[in-house]
């Protein structure tokens, strides 16, 4: 426990350690160190860093916290699957109109009811968000749908493709080709880490800036 105590004391700002480190470790050596004390030292070291720590420490600490936070979030998210179908399009101008009709509240609600999915405004918005329609090459489009259940992903992709074909009045037809059977969407851990790093560092800059302004106002 004493090794842990010495390690935790290193979390205090350098000027503080120059003044109090020997006294504090002397006290810990004499009085002992429990897990309660470890949390106590950790909490106070953090408070001391806020009060006296360098701006660089803030930026680095919050950037690391940002990376850890986003990665934990990514790992805790359920696996999502994606499926897609390829469609022939005779008239590209009609795709927008057909997509609007196929993704209308009524059509999506019908799909949800058919596969016993949760309905409602939020679910409709989520289904729209999880559906993408993109041009692969002239005359060929790919419709993609993402969700947490592979079986549902395949069925919903087919159902939306079917609605698109009906809504296009013959301008869109099925190729019968499934571009992708349901497969897990690999989350981009690197992108998440970069976002966490940038977000955390930006947070650190804001905290350090606020602290600087606060100190300047006090002077």
């Amino acid at each position: 426990m004493r090794h842990l105590a010495r390690l935790l004391v290193q979390l205090y700002p350098r000027p503080w350690r120059d003044r109090y480190e020997k006294e504090m470790t002397g006290l810990i050596d004499d009085a002992g160190f429990s897990i309660f004390d470890a949390f106590d030292v950790l909490k106070e070291a953090f408070k001391m860093q806020i009060a006296q720590g360098s701006s660089l420490w803030f930026i680095c600490a919050l950037a690391i916290a940002g990376i850890v936070g986003t990665e934990v979030y990514m790992l805790s998210r359920p696996t999502r699957y994606v499926s897609s179908e390829i469609l022939n399009v005779r008239d590209a101008d009609s795709v927008g109109r057909a997509a609007q009709r196929a993704l209308s509240r009524a059509d999506l609600t019908a799909i949800m009811q058919r596969f016993h999915l949760q309905t409602g405004e939020e679910a409709i918005e989520r289904m729209r968000y999880d559906t993408t329609l993109s041009q692969v090459r002239p005359g060929t489009f790919e419709i993609q749908y993402r969700d947490e259940w592979p079986g549902i992903v395949r069925s919903v992709t087919s159902a939306i493709a079917e609605r698109l074909i009906i809504a296009s009045d013959g301008a869109i037809s099925s190729t019968g080709a499934i571009a992708r059977q349901p497969e897990p969407v690999t989350p981009s851990y690197l992108t998440a880490a970069m976002a966490g790093l940038l977000g955390g560092a930006l947070g650190g800059v804001l905290v350090a800036g606020t602290r600087w302004l606060f100190r300047a106002a006090q002077k």
């Binding site: 105590a5 503080w16 109090y20 020997k22 006294e23 504090m24 470790t25 002397g26 006290l27 810990i28 050596d29 004499d30 009085a31 160190f33 309660f36 004390d37 949390f39 106590d40 030292v41 950790l42 909490k43 106070e44 070291a45 408070k47 001391m48």
Partner: protein, 69 residues
């Protein structure tokens, strides 16, 4: 570590010592680097007196409340 019946962790204790010394209410006396005694300064004594007077007022108000029918 306990002070006046309150358990203090080393972090809390040294957080308090840092604040008291920064405000000029205590002063470290020469001594062993690992066991340093502290003494109240004149400003610290004044502050302590004011704090005790304030606490005394709170205690008296509480006792009056208790004895009121």
């Amino acid at each position: 570590m306990a002070f006046a019946g309150v358990r203090l962790g080393p972090g809390t204790l040294y957080g308090a010592i840092t604040r008291l010394e920064t405000r000029g209410w205590i002063r470290a006396l020469p001594g062993d680097e690992r066991r340093r005694p502290y003494r109240l300064t004149a400003a610290g004594r004044k502050q302590l007196r004011e704090q005790l007077a304030e606490l005394d007022r709170v205690v008296k108000a509480g006792q009056q409340r208790l004895h009121r029918p």
